[in-house]
């Protein structure tokens, strides 16, 4: 009774899985906590190392020594460094990232305002990278060694090697200034600025919700070039990894079996090989998304994109350390979160990784 045996085996697998589940969740939580502790420790050290005096920034350089000492104690600077770190952590958990000197607002509020722009840019860039890179990778693997494969390899090498800020500048020059095919820098034309109610902060979503299609089109025109430029590296990376994974799968025996059975080539490629590749791609796409979120700094600068990267660099030049560190932590947490999330998803989807 082979079927019954497989059934009971499945049950047993499932029960061991369930038994292991809490341990795995605990393990993931532990590494998440450790990574977070490391990240905050590094930013804390940066905040300590920096030459600016936090007390002086508050009281000014004409304050009396008594006032200075009082604020010094109030900030907890007289306590041991470890206690200072714990205090810093406590503030973080309360969502207190300090007040920005530049905007005179809580850093958290600033970040909430700037973050959606970065999220929108990185999400569309990742989408473009996936939609372009994955089919190219499959094509390169299927046509291994032929001219298409070489061409895709050259595209990939270009994507790996080109400085995005430079390419963005040239693209803006040619496609916007010379040809007028796309809209210029910024998220939206000034004329439309502030015309849709910010619900999510993502202009594309907000304008679609409000059925303001003209604004939607305008925002899309602004978004397509920076997202395309930012997505080039993702495209190159995904094409290369997809090709590698596909070649790995195409050499397996089950592919031979499928061919012997008479499965048409399209079915062999997409239904057999690619389905297995898809699982491996989850982690890669997660990694890409995370790196685009943090790597958008340069693209944002070139395209005057009011995102978190620009916020951090602008704060940096104004010595606004609260803002810099707050931005670093938020981006860092997103980065770590996406990486861990994709890892977890991979384990859930792929039975071999359990």
């Amino acid at each position: 009774m082979p079927e019954a045996r497989t059934g009971s085996q499945l049950d047993r697998n499932r029960s061991t899985l369930l038994a292991q589940a809490p341990r795995r969740v605990a393990g993931t939580a532990l590494s998440l906590a450790l990574t977070f502790a490391g990240l905050t420790a590094v930013t804390f050290v940066i905040a300590r190392v920096m030459p600016a005096d936090p007390v002086l920034a508050i009281v000014g350089d004409r304050a009396h020594q008594d006032v200075y000492d009082a604020v010094y104690r109030e900030l907890g600077l007289d306590q041991p460094i470890f206690m200072q770190y714990l205090r810093y952590l406590g503030q973080l958990f309360e969502g207190d990232l300090g007040v920005s000197i530049m905007t005179a607002q809580p850093v958290l509020d600033d970040l909430l305002r700037f973050f959606p722009a970065t999220l929108e840019l990185a999400t569309v860039a990742t989408l473009l990278g996936v939609l372009g890179g994955v089919p190219l990778g499959v094509l390169a693997a299927v046509r291994q060694g032929q001219w298409v494969d070489h061409l895709i390899r050259v595209i990939g090498l270009f994507g790996y090697s080109v400085p995005v800020f430079w390419l963005g500048m040239l693209a803006l020059f040619v496609l916007y200034a010379k040809l007028g095919w796309v809209a210029g820098p910024g998220r939206i034309d000034i004329f439309f600025d502030g015309m849709v109610e910010p619900v999510t902060g993502l202009i594309l979503v907000d304008s679609a919700l409000a059925r303001e299609w003209e604004i939607f089109r305008n925002a899309l025109g602004h978004l397509v070039l920076p997202a395309g430029i930012l997505g080039i590296h993702a495209l190159a990376y995904l094409a290369r990894m997809t090709r590698h994974f596909m070649l790995e799968q195409m050499g397996q025996e089950y592919i031979l079996t499928a061919r012997v059975k008479g499965v048409p080539e399209g079915g062999v490629i997409w239904r057999h090989a690619f389905r297995n590749v898809l699982v491996q791609l989850i982690t890669i796409v997660g990694l890409t998304y995370a790196s685009l979120l943090e790597g958008s700094v340069l693209t944002e600068t070139v395209f005057a994109w009011p995102g978190i990267g620009q916020y951090i660099t602008n704060s940096l030049f104004n010595n606004d350390m609260n803002a810099v560190l707050g931005g670093t932590i938020v981006v860092g947490v997103c980065f770590v979160g996406i990486n861990m999330g994709s890892d977890l998803l991979y384990r859930l989807v792929d039975p071999r990784a359990r």
């Binding site: 190392v49 790996y160 090697s161 800020f165 700094v297 340069l298 951090i312 931005g327 670093t328």
Partner: protein, 299 residues
């Protein structure tokens, strides 16, 4: 010539030296088959040559303004044109190759020893030390590199050395992973056991027997990483956080040329092209080296 070739191709080498030369020769023969890799080697070779011979290749120092020749288009006299202060862009790119090479060298000098030390010790010793070191590596692996580099430069102040330091700080972790994987497979091998039984102390085994075995994987990874390191350094320079003017760093040159893009395209175009070509060279070379040194991962 043919005598050397015969000596290199002999079936049974007579000495250790001959065997070692043979190995390099065979690797070179395999490497030569890969046109892309040879092109990469040529580009990296040109970069090194340009850096070494900069005083003879460049006609000017690349920093002294020559206001009579502001913003000249590319011509026979100025191959890549001149910038807003009349400085020859070709000369500046040639001098800039020294900075690129300096970044590459300094990052290598910091990253490889740290990565090797952490990885080899973790893999060889094992146990709780392995767990602790690998947790640390994972933490650094999970860091957002560019943003953290920004924060570091913010704290330490803008400048080339600080930018390099910031890059290196987050770049060492993959090498620790690689070295650990190699050390794990070597830990119980016979030649390590033989060394142990001769009474060679652990630190000498690590430095003399385990670490050298990791070098080839590390070199491959390093070459492939170089493009990313160059791009990050150029990005920091572009943001004004790396090398400071008038240093002819390529990223900073693009930033300065930004204002002239509309009418004098050559000012930002050529430094960017230089970055593109050099990182392409390192990528091609890395791919080729991987195929030669690390046949396991050949794709």
């Amino acid at each position: 010539m043919s005598a050397v070739r015969a000596w290199l191709l002999v079936d049974v080498p007579r000495s250790r030296w001959q065997a070692r030369c043979q190995r390099f020769f065979f690797a070179w023969l395999a490497f030569r088959q890969n046109a892309g890799a040879v092109a990469g080697l040529a580009i990296v070779g040109t970069l090194v040559a340009a850096a070494l011979l900069a005083p003879w290749i460049a006609g000017s120092t690349g920093v002294v303004p020559d206001l009579g020749n502001r913003l000249q288009p590319p011509s026979g006299a100025f191959w890549f044109g001149t910038d807003e202060l009349g400085r020859d862009i070709f000369d500046r790119i040639v001098w800039g190759s020294r900075i690129t090479l300096y970044i590459v060298g300094l990052v290598t000098l910091i990253v490889v020893p740290i990565g090797l030390a952490v990885g080899v010790v973790a893999g060889y010793v094992g146990g709780w030390l392995d767990g602790a070191l690998m947790r640390l590596t994972d933490i650094f692996l999970a860091f957002p590199r560019l943003i953290l580099a920004l924060a570091f430069v913010a704290a330490l102040g803008p400048g080339l050395e600080n930018a390099v330091l910031a890059i290196a700080l987050t770049a060492w972790s993959p090498y620790a992973r690689i070295a650990r994987a190699e050390a794990l497979t070597l830990r119980h091998s016979d030649f390590i056991l033989a060394a142990r039984s001769q009474g060679i102390p652990h630190h000498q085994i690590l430095a003399g027997h385990v670490a050298p075995m990791c070098i080839s994987s590390v070199i491959v990874r390093l070459t492939l990483d170089m493009a990313g390191i160059i791009l990050t350094a150029a990005g920091l320079g572009f943001l004004g956080l790396g090398a400071q003017p008038p240093t002819p760093e390529w990223g900073a040159m693009i930033a300065l040329g930004r204002d002239y893009l509309l009418d004098q395209w050559w000012v930002p175009a050529f430094p960017g092209l230089a970055i593109l070509v050099v990182s392409l060279g390192f990528n091609l070379l890395g791919d080729g080296l991987r195929d030669v040194l690390d046949p396991k991962s050949r794709s």
